[in-house]
Symmetry: C2
Subunit: 214 residues, 2 copies
């Protein structure tokens, strides 16, 4: 079986993301176990609770021990490490409940930073005052300063994320993944959205680990 | 009485800020009314509830009608308008429960944007995950990418605010006020912290209004 044909899973807090035939399926744990429980699947997990269940009810194999990110830090999430392994160099943005931004240079982790996710940001304004309880403007214009509360909030969120990521990227490629990844990528001239990045990183790690053992 | 000697008040949601002898006192409403209720004070207010009480118990005068900011928008807070009137040109940052950033060019309001306040931002990370429940690093180093969760969160907050405000400022002066104003100003080479900015704006408005009536 070619490595591209491996079944892979990324176990999140509420969903199990399955990589199957180069597509990603986002499943509830029960559904994932029914559909794939008897398959050979390599997985990483940030959900310890669910992992116990997987060990009992499936034939899946945890490959966290094979995910090595040079210069990683202790409490770095395993999915974030896998994401960084997808390409040798680049800026990797995972826009979910939080937005993580990580920089890789020739296979070495150079550091990163964390924003609250878009939903968490909007919640945060809402909690400050009912006057700031507004949705995100669909097409935020970051080229000119806005004149309404709603637009000024969207600008505050999007322009600050965009400006810092652009500064970080320098000339590196910008990769986006996660639930808001496609939306965010749209604000960058060369933003690449790819929901399979974490799985690409897992494939690279498996390949490297196999080569090491040969 | 020279306009510099006027007693002025900025009525906030929980405090009354009194400008007296070129200093600012931050008082609870009860204390402010005991100390200054019988004085002649010109005020602006974002607190409609408290304003009713002031009308009954003090001889203070609401001067909101005299605060005119060219190109202001409908729902713009009166304290924010007064802040923008403090100088003819500049970028005005009020760092409180929310952080507002406003641009003035030769007396004309050019627009702005809104961030959640520092406390609200930290709360927002905490709500996403207990792993992100960290305090702000005291001395955030925005010159290099950090390698721990705590520093990556502080960097996400401070570097994004700093980078966008610097981009906005171009060559304009940067003025800071509000509870976190002094702290934030410290991240900018030429950041000017002045807790009397709103009152300077009120003085200018009163002066302009007097000249118009003469």
């Amino acid at each position: 079986m070619r490595s591209e044909e491996l079944l892979l899973a990324d176990i999140g807090n509420s969903r199990i993301h399955i990589y199957h035939n180069q597509k990603v399926r986002h499943l509830l744990p029960d559904d994932a176990i029914v559909d794939y429980g008897k398959e050979e699947i390599f997985y990483i997990s940030v959900n310890q609770e669910l992992e116990k269940r997987l060990q009992q009810e499936t034939s899946w194999k945890n490959i966290s021990g094979q995910i090595h990110l040079p210069n990683e830090y202790d409490t770095m999430g395993i999915d974030r490490k896998a994401l960084c392994l997808s390409y040798d160099s680049g800026v990797f943005v995972d826009a979910g409940s939080a937005i993580t931004v990580d920089v890789m240079e020739r296979g070495i982790y150079k550091g990163g930073y964390i924003f609250p996710g878009l939903k968490a940001m909007l919640e945060s304004y809402k909690r400050i005052s009912p006057a700031l309880d507004v949705p995100l403007v669909e097409h935020v214009d970051v080229t000119q300063l806005p004149l309404t509360t709603k637009e000024q909030i969207s600008y505050g969120i999007i322009a600050s994320i965009k400006t810092l990521i652009e500064k970080t990227s320098d000339k590196k490629r910008l990769y986006f993944t996660g639930g808001d990844g496609k939306y965010l990528a749209g604000f960058f001239r060369d933003g690449i959205y790819d929901e399979t990045l974490v799985f690409k990183g897992m494939q690279h790690a498996l390949k490297a680990s196999k080569q090491m053992n040969n």
